[in-house]
């Protein structure tokens, strides 16, 4: 065996071992735990669970909530995608920002804001009570469905929008020439072709609904409405290790639903990858004529009402004490004083920031290296790691958290420290980085690297001067997503955090569960501010670049803006 081969095989073995130890072993332990009985192995845990009426209720609630919220998300997301992609409404930028707001703001803050808006003593419910004679109870099945639907609409929107734009325009023109009117064409060409994308977006929304912990935790736990994810949480937190076996069995059930959905979604994506063009076409396809203004303002108004108004209510309420009227006389900064002086909250902010930063650093290095080995070297070990990592992303967060407990308690010095959170975050989010780095590298023609090698540049120089400049932006887009998600994470930390390792999400959750809504609102307001700041800054980057570019009028060294990836 040559040295090259030996090195290669050692690499494969190392990759396989990593995949096995970090990604697959926790899941195996979970399955084993669910099968462990006092007598050995068997399905008694499942049998006992399914005999319990509360389990059946949890399963039933999970399915009802997932299906109904998916319907809301599909309608909302698809309609907005259609308006933005095809019609001539103005202010599309704002429409997109408003539509995507629930995507960038953590769902527990959205839930908190809806519960503030529709609190039993809130002004909206007072008004409804006095005019229509009823109150809206957000702590209900309907409330959970509504908030989840709103939270998951961006998932559908993001899936459908580029697909709609990629449908070639001449397919529409051909239909027009063949005697179809504009709306007939939209119906029988565009919408028919986009159906798989809508379905696959719906499937993603369904999976997100099953996976979601914060919405049913904030709204369902107080009202006694269990869904599978909160049911697992309650069992583990309430009964400790004695509930591990049944929690594991529940987790396997929940994962089965999620993995089935993921497989179905994969099939849908495969079906939809037909002959659409690669380029997105941003031209107006459906002029709305006289209806333009009404549609545009109705859409903007609706989005503002649903996605922004509750947040504003929350932010406002954070400036008032819990009891008493919201008048200027009652205005107070006391809640913020608490946020900025309380040691626990400060520690939580620090923890989340450190965790997010560390997760990003490790993911970007490991994820890009794995992606490179997969794309360019066709390394089977990298592919194995990727597949394992997508498994730990596809299963619900609460399940992964449980699996992490089972696995990492075996390794001393991990469970109960901040390391378990870091490991859990990487296990959960690494696949996002592998995916975005893979896409970035696939878009880079291999001949560019070969040319660099041919003209005498070493590996390091090729990376520094060729690969990174051309792929950095798409690679970083994945990292950015990981950063935002791990910064505001709740599901994993709710199970894995210990006394000194609380995260922001967990702090808000604890405050809310303790009935301390105003302080929870104040922490949320700070998080919203931080998120808005980060996105605002990232939006500024291209603007600054543009200004810089404009300053020296004609610099011959400047590459063609159409060829260079716009950073």
């Amino acid at each position: 065996m040559s040295r090259q081969r030996l090195k290669q095989n050692i690499g494969y073995l190392a990759g396989g071992a990593v995949a096995l130890f970090f990604f697959l072993a926790p899941l195996c332990r979970l399955v084993l735990m669910s099968l462990t009985t006092d007598q050995g192995f068997g399905f008694e845990n499942y049998g006992a669970l399914l005999a319990e009426s509360r389990t059946l209720r949890a399963i039933g609630n999970t399915v009802i909530i997932a299906v109904a919220s998916t319907l809301i998300a599909v309608v909302l997301g698809s309609v907005m995608a259609f308006l933005v992609a095809y019609t001539d409404v103005a202010h599309k930028k704002w429409m997109e920002i408003l539509t995507l707001a629930p995507f960038v703001i953590p769902s527990y803050i959205i839930t908190l804001s809806w519960s503030t808006l529709l609190s039993a003593r809130g002004s909206l419910n007072q008004f409804l009570d006095s005019v229509l004679g009823f109150k809206v109870n957000i702590y209900s099945l309907g409330g959970i469905i509504l908030v989840l639907g709103i939270c998951n609409a961006p998932v559908v929107y993001l899936n459908v929008l580029p697909f709609l734009r990629k449908i070639p325009r001449d397919l529409e023109w051909a239909a027009r020439v063949c005697g179809r009117s504009l709306w007939q064409t939209v119906r029988c060409i565009d919408l028919t072709q986009a159906a798989p994308a809508v379905a696959s977006g719906g499937m993603l929304a369904f999976l997100a609904a099953i996976d979601n912990f914060s919405v049913p935790a904030f709204l369902g736990i107080p009202a006694g409405i269990p869904v599978l994810s909160t049911y697992i949480y309650e069992n583990v937190i309430g009964f400790g290790p004695s509930a591990f076996r049944s929690a594991a069995a529940l987790s396997v059930l929940l994962s089965a639903i999620a993995l089935g959905g993921t497989a179905l979604q994969g099939l849908l994506v495969k079906r939809s990858s037909g002959m659409e063009s690669i380029r997105e076409d941003f031209s107006v396809r459906v002029p709305l004529g006289r209806g333009r203004r009404p549609v545009q303002w109705a859409a903007l108004g609706f989005l503002a009402l649903v996605n922004i108004f509750p947040l504003l209510t929350t932010i406002t309420s954070s400036f008032f004490p819990a009891y008493g009227t919201k008048t200027l006389a009652n205005f107070t900064l006391e809640n913020y004083q608490f946020v900025f002086t309380n040691r626990g909250i400060r520690q939580a902010f620090l923890n989340s920031a450190l965790l997010a930063a560390a997760t990003c650093c490790i993911c970007i290095l490991a994820g890009t290296a794995l992606a490179y080995r997969k794309v360019r070297r066709r390394c089977p070990a990298s592919r194995l790691v990727e597949q394992s990592a997508s498994l730990t992303y596809a299963i619900p967060g609460i399940v992964l958290a449980l699996a992490m407990i089972f696995h990492w308690t075996m390794v001393p010095g991990v469970y109960g420290t901040i390391w378990i959170l870091l490991i859990a975050y990487i296990t959960r989010y690494l696949v996002l980085q592998i995916k975005s780095s893979t896409n970035a590298l696939l878009a880079l023609d291999v001949s560019l690297e070969e040319a660099a090698a041919l003209f005498g540049s070493g590996r390091l120089r090729a990376w520094r001067q060729i690969i990174l400049p051309l792929t950095l932006k798409p690679i970083l887009s994945g990292t950015f997503l990981i950063f935002m998600q791990s910064l505001t994470e709740l599901t994993l930390s709710s199970m894995l955090a210990a006394a000194g390792t609380k995260t922001i999400g967990l702090s808000i959750f604890s405050l809310q569960q303790g009935g301390d809504y105003q302080r929870a609102a104040a922490v949320s307001a700070v998080v919203i501010g931080a998120v808005a700041l980060v996105y605002g800054l990232s939006a500024l980057i291209p603007l600054v670049k543009k200004l810089k570019k404009r300053a020296p009028k004609s610099d011959p060294a400047q590459p063609d803006p159409h060829l260079a990836p716009a950073l």
Binding site: P168, L171, W173, A174, R176, G179, S181, T192, G274
Partner: protein, 351 residues
């Protein structure tokens, strides 16, 4: 179906995609719109089929007003057939469904299902698609897709067929063979065809008349022979028949080339005014005769490309490069000193 285009202008801001274009297309005529990219040929086609509304001017079809700055008959009510550059087959429909689609529109609602089936069968038969009718477009080769696009365009038996660079997505071999199929369809249907292309050989090979366009304006309209042998503008001369423009001066019907000896004129004959004003004489590459000694443009062979049927030379004369197509028997090498003359006879015989 006859089409009358009168003074059509289409402005996008300050730029004019079409600038005062007027042309008549007779019933059953095969007319090619030829020009480089960005010349407005596609805009003109899209004006005829109704995707573009003219800023001023009118489009009439069989005397009925289709387009003006005020009137715009919707595309779906124009009853045209069209073949797109990218074929524009709907990927979620089978070959048969694609071809049947036009017959299921509102304008064909009177059609009996039996008639519809017969029309689809006939369109598939005339394009040789019978065996492929249940395939999806994604499973077809380029040439087969092109046939489906053609069948879909003719299934309604439209009296006017529009084609937007239909062969440009095909490889060289297939391009030539599809030319015959398009000519056959023209004969079979008797429809007027408006055919947009940037490939002058396609236009010369198939069209009854050619419209040469440049920067939104019509440069010349004429039969392929007229355009080829009697270009009316410098652009038509260089774009279609690849003419070399020899510098010099016209005196009456005599042309004196700057780079040639002055004891006899370089060329004689009637010539368009624009060539007189520009002080050039158009000479097609095959119109040159090349000798080692004699009177004419003295130059040097700088490049030679053997082409089987003929040899293509680049000859440098007084700082200018001329393209010369010569027979296989006079074999020159790069660096050879040669003399170029214009062959008068070829011009006389041809016209």
């Amino acid at each position: 179906m006859s089409v009358t285009i009168k003074n059509v202008t289409k402005a996008y801001g300050d730029t004019r995609a079409l600038d005062n274009v007027s042309v008549e297309i007779a019933d059953g005529e095969f007319i090619a719109i030829l020009g480089p990219s960005g010349c407005g040929k596609t805009t003109l086609l899209r004006t005829i089929c109704g995707f573009v509304q003219p800023t001023s001017g009118t489009v009439e079809v069989d005397g009925k007003l289709f387009s003006s700055d005020k009137v715009q008959v919707p595309v779906e009510q124009r009853g045209l057939g069209m073949v797109f550059q990218s074929f524009a087959l709907w990927p979620h429909m089978t070959v048969r469904q694609n071809i049947e689609f036009p017959l299921k529109s509102r304008r064909n609602r009177a059609l009996h299902p039996q008639q519809r089936r017969q029309a689809v069968d006939a369109a598939m038969a005339s394009t040789g698609l019978e065996k492929l009718q249940d395939r999806l477009p994604g499973e077809l080769s380029g040439g087969q897709r092109q046939r489906v696009a053609l069948a879909r365009a003719i299934v309604e038996k439209p009296a006017l067929l529009l084609m937007d660079e239909p062969l440009s997505a095909l490889d060289a071999e297939l391009k030539i063979s599809m030319r015959k199929e398009i000519q056959d369809i023209h004969k079979l249907t008797g429809a007027s065809i408006v055919y947009v292309t940037h490939d002058q050989s396609e236009a010369l090979a198939m069209a009854d008349r050619i419209i040469i366009m440049k920067e939104g304006r019509i440069e010349q309209v004429g039969t392929p022979e007229e355009i080829y042998y009697r270009p009316k503008t410098l652009f038509a001369a260089t774009f279609v028949s690849k003419c070399n423009l020899v510098r010099g001066r016209w005196e009456g019907d005599c042309f004196w080339a700057d780079a040639a000896g002055q004891n006899q004129p370089f060329a004689r004959g009637p010539v368009e005014g624009c060539f007189r004003e520009a002080g050039v004489c158009p000479v097609r590459p095959e119109e040159f005769t090349m000798t080692r000694i004699g009177m004419g443009l003295e130059g040097r062979v700088v490049n030679r490309q053997w082409g089987g049927r003929e040899i293509h030379y680049k000859v440098e004369c007084g700082g200018e490069l001329f393209t010369v197509y010569a027979g296989l028997f006079d074999n020159y090498s790069e660096g050879d000193r040669v003399v170029l003359q214009r062959r008068e006879a070829a011009r006389e015989i041809a016209i």
